[in-house]
């Protein structure tokens, strides 16, 4: 059971009411219990941010590292002992902004780690500044008239850089997310699971999603399965600019690094 993986004495956690990070933590732990990994041979790493508080509530070895450097530290852990299972929790500001270079080189090296990116479109912990994934026209404290810069597509970036498994889900699709994390954990090589989640305090409050359930309803209606998205593109159907494709984008076997047999 996943309750055995939680530090029950640390709960309730610091996340705001309705924060998606707790849901994602549940799904990752559920997937890890399905793999049957040993708790003493699993390491969780994180950078800085709301999402990066998650390993503190999990009963394994963990590293809470400097901002954006979680993947660099994970590379070190994996190379030091390739038999360890390494999972990285990271946020969008952590992964796409300051850790962008580590991210693309982690993908290029195809090191055997699993990265779960909790994408809440904002720097939630520091007060809601705009991040590289803030969608066009959305308000944050640093974009009071709406974001004018085009956002990053982390999935496309990971595919182009060479990751072995790339998927995107939302915090509403908990079952699918659990399955995707399970596949990512078992795939040798770099796996990225991008999870769009809600931040009712910093993002929702300024963008007309005041209640956590409002943003969940948005995720439910605007997440379009990849197959349907491609069909809609082919038939020239009008796709709402708020919508985004979800699903498994890539599963391939490029040369990997850090797998015990090859190390």
């Amino acid at each position: 059971m996943r309750n055995e993986w939680l530090r029950s004495d640390r709960l309730p956690h610091i996340y705001c009411a309705g924060c998606g990070n707790g849901t994602i933590m549940n799904c990752v732990l559920e997937a890890i219990t399905q793999t049957g990994w040993d708790r003493t041979r699993t390491v969780f790493l994180s950078g800085i941010g709301c999402s990066s508080r998650a390993p503190g509530y999990i009963m394994t070895d963990s590293l809470h590292t400097t901002h954006g450097r979680a993947i660099a530290f994970a590379t070190g852990v994996k190379m030091a002992d390739p038999s360890l299972h390494v999972v990285v929790f990271t946020g969008d500001g952590d992964l796409a902004a300051i850790g962008g270079n580590h991210f693309i080189h982690g993908c290029r090296r195809n090191i055997d780690i699993t990265v779960v990116c909790m994408n809440n479109h904002i720097y939630g912990m520091t007060g809601g500044q705009g991040s590289p994934t803030t969608p066009l026209g959305k308000t944050s404290t640093t974009t009071p008239y709406g974001a004018e810069e085009a956002p990053f597509d982390l999935v496309e970036l990971a595919i182009a850089a060479g990751a072995n498994y790339v998927a995107r889900w939302t915090s509403y699709h908990v079952k699918q997310l659990t399955d995707a994390v399970y596949d990512g954990l078992l795939t040798p090589g770099f796996s990225l699971i991008e999870v769009r989640c809600q931040c009712p305090t910093s993002y929702g409050r300024r963008n007309k999603y005041r209640e956590p359930t409002d943003y969940m309803t948005y995720l439910k209606t605007n997440a379009i399965l990849k197959r349907k998205w491609e069909e809609m593109e082919r038939s020239g159907e009008n796709i709402s600019p708020d919508s985004f494709p979800v699903g498994e984008f890539v599963r391939r076997s490029r040369p990997v690094m850090g797998v015990p047999d090859e190390a």
Partner: protein
């Protein structure tokens, strides 16, 4: 098995009321000691996972426990047979 909301962990975000296919959870009406409106359960014996999990030997739904960001919803084992009054609706 029966569902239980841990009041010391719940923060009252009402996500469980959104996802339950049987609408077992309802938004709470009165605040608890910490001022949090913990959702109330409306006839929780309707949950198929609670009734049939033992029979099928696997988890059937579990959406509420997975989506709860505060890990507040869990199943607790109960005695195999507890007589209860069932009201039939017409």
């Amino acid at each position: 098995m029966k569902l239980e909301i841990d009041e010391s962990r719940c923060k009252g975000c009402n996500l469980c009321t959104l996802v339950c296919p049987y609408k077992i959870y309802r938004p709470g009406s009165r605040p608890n000691r910490k001022g949090i409106y913990v959702p109330e359960m409306d006839r929780p014996e309707r949950c198929p996972n609670c009734r049939l999990q033992e029979l099928y030997g696997r988890r059937l739904c579990g959406m509420c426990a997975l989506i709860c960001p505060d890990q507040a919803i869990k199943w607790v084992p109960e005695k195999p047979y507890e007589p209860m009054k069932v009201v039939i609706e017409y």
